[in-house]
Amino acid sequence: MSAPLSPQMRFDGFVVGAANRLAAAAARAVAESPGTGYNPLFIYARPGLGKTHLLMAIGHAAQAINPALVVEYVTLDDFVEAFHTAVGAGQGDTYRRRFVEADVLLLDDVQFVTHRRETQAELLRLVDQMQAGGRQIVLTSDRPPADIEAFDERLLRRVAGGLVVDIAAPDYETRVAILRRKAEERQVVFKAGVLDTVATLALDSVRELVGALNRLVAFQSVGNAMLDAEQARLVLGVRATASDVPPAPATTAAIPAPEAPADEFGEFLSEVAETLTRQVEGWRRRVEEAMARWEGQGYRTARLAGLLDRGVDGDPAGALASFVADIERLQALQAEAAALSDDLASNAVFRDPDAVVAAEEFLARAVEGASPPPPPEGIWVFDDLVESEGNRVALRSARETAERPGAAYNPFVIVGGAGVGKTHLLHAVGNLLVASHGSVVACLNAQDFSEELIEALERDRVGAWRARYRRVQALLLDDVQLLAGHERTQEELYLLFNHLVEQGAQLAFTASAEPGEIEGLAARLASRLAGGLVVHLPPPEREVRQAVIERLLGARYDRVDPELAGYLAGRPAESVRAVQAFVQRVEAAADARHAEPDVALAREVLEGAAPRAPRPAAGVRTSGVGASGFRSPEKAVWEWPDIGERLIEEWR
């Protein structure tokens, strides 16, 4: 059941001092505009320092500003108990809705959530729903979220995503202010110095402080005269030393009692003790502040907690500085990891300053995993590409892309049929990028890309796999159509694409068809590909074929028979690969005969005709037919059966 807000617990009655200023400011901000700023707000403090007061003050203030707001205050124990009851009565949803629909949910003492998995799951859901609905949730605990035993990691992240503030024990001045206000509330007047005496006691919670005040009020009310400071000390002294109070941080009462307060040495001792306590507490507070700060940012602070518990072997400032240095080192490592992959950067190893070495090793392993991606094949270079009318645009834009990576055309997409030289052009771009910019270039087939991902998934090393590609300056992916239906690879490619474009890296692809026409390619990926420059690589034209043939023959024979080259180039071919294939056939036949290939042999091999004396008309014929208006004259002629050709010859 949610409890009513205590009318006394308002901001008005909350004395703000150095120890609680941040918490009070955050609480006010939340009360003034719930759900917009710090959500969730997590306040932690040792018992009796005003968590509940602040929590209820938020409720009061929020309702005062907007009376229509629904404010629910509940302690975790009550929350759990009532929820169990509601579930038992079959009204779990109703109960749940009630909290989700609150505009401000104030949940006290969440440290009791320890080892309650169901409650944590419920709380997680609640926090998520309230955040999503722009509703405020404020949690309090007696310890920082990271110290709540078995606290759900997801819940911890949610809490860290809001604001985590602590309330430290009030300093002397705040204690005096609190006592004065309490005395005023009770309309009791004390002699000068009495409240100051109470304020110096070793009471480390406001509750105990008020308890001491109550004791004085009681003593004073039964006596005839007002208590003076000395009497007050007597009334409280026994209790303060006899009580099992831990050594108070911000008090001077741990001072050895001066033997004779009036004497000079006693006064000196008090002053020295006060100064010393202030100084010692200074670093203690700095350590506590550092703990709150780093815990709020999700770092483990066990080492600092150790400083407070056990003291330090060395000076605390040095220990603190070394802790901060370790965190900075972790942050640097994390940044390095983030450059490789977000997955890697979110690893918990980057959150533990006591495990810097482990973090370094982790990163080293990750970097190792991010071995250089496959580079372009060195044999495919621009110089071997022959420019023709049909491929001029593709070749020149490819060269420009390589010369101005990330700036000219990004992505650069080469479309064409099988064997027309897309892969060659892609690798040539890659090689030029490496040669002229020294770029780290990943150049590989889409199928291999997909296989690598699958392997990474099997080994649970997707982070490293991503890292491997995220650091490239150019990603060149061949045959992107092979990714059709590979949903996960497409998703990864999509993310990689965006990342690389953002980094100014160059992307290039080859595809068998326009991106939009590739079936099974996600629209978001297709549209990104189409958003760059899409060039078409046509089947090789005659001059391309001629150049390829001459190069192939030249690589094998001392002299290239121009007639043979001309003849071969005259044969139609849909791809360079086809040209290579028939050149190889001719070469093989020549090898079998231990002779150099000539036109006759070629003709025999390729046309199946008996070798015969070369005819002067051979070279002319195609052009003759071409002149007659055939769109593809060579194809039209050469596909005729031999018999037909002979008939024509005879007819001629």
């Binding site: 050594p247 741990a254 001072i255 050895p256 033997e259 004497d263 000079e264 040495f265 006064e267 000196f268 001792l269 002053e271 020295v272 003790a273 100064t275 010393l276 306590t277 100084q279 010692v280 507490e281 200074g282 670093w283 003291g311 330090v312 072997d313 060395g314 000076d315 605390p316 400032a317 040095g318 603190l320």
Partner: protein, 200 residues
């Protein structure tokens, strides 16, 4: 010397009373000695000449008990004021956490004050300590003497205390200003605790 030992949780402050001969350094310590309860003070070691001039140094350890979990001790030293004991002064100055410069308020001792202050600066510098970095307070002793014989604290401040550190008028024979001075220097010394390692 380490001011704070966090391992053994001990704080030890070495405070040196410095100044010209016969300015009242030993008198300061004697007064303090007389006021510290027996259980808290160690034996005051005083190596004096036959005419009661400090020959080597005075040493007064004071145990302040446990403060904030630290066993706290003050060690008060004086140096011999006479010019020719400079080696001893240097020795005593080593590792000082704070210095009380005890000046003689008598107008005729003005030059001795200046000379001693310069000597303090030199000796500190020889140990690589910048006087500006060390807690120092001034005490102008013998303010009980007739007005026409002495300079007022303000006048002495003008003459000696050009950095404007805390200064105290005193009459050590009767104890006026002795503990005020000790409190003043203690506060400065202890405040350096906040600086952590720099104080160590």
């Amino acid at each position: 010397m380490s001011l704070v030992n966090f391992t053994t949780r001990e704080i030890t402050c070495k405070i040196v009373y410095y100044g010209p001969g016969r300015s009242g350094k030993t008198t300061n310590l004697q007064y303090i000695y007389g006021r510290v309860p027996e259980g808290r003070r160690g034996r005051m070691v005083s190596l004096a000449t036959q005419s009661d001039r400090t020959l080597f140094f005075d040493f007064l350890p004071i145990d302040l008990g446990s403060i904030s979990g630290f066993t706290t001790r003050f060690q008060l030293y004086t140096v011999p004021g006479q010019v020719y004991y400079n080696a001893t002064r240097k020795l005593v100055l080593q590792g000082a956490d704070g210095v009380v410069f005890v000046g003689d308020s008598q107008a005729r001792r003005y030059d001795d004050n200046v000379e001693s202050l310069q000597n303090l600066q030199e000796n500190l510098l020889a140990q690589g300590v910048d006087i500006r970095q060390l807690p120092v307070v001034f005490q102008y002793n013998k303010q009980d003497l007739p007005r026409d014989l002495i300079l007022s604290p303000d006048e002495l401040d003008d003459a000696l205390n050009f950095r404007g550190v805390r200064s105290f008028g005193a009459d050590c024979l009767h104890g006026h200003g002795v503990f005020e001075t000790l409190k003043g220097i203690s506060e400065l010394v202890l405040q350096r605790l906040a600086a952590g390692s720099s104080a160590a």
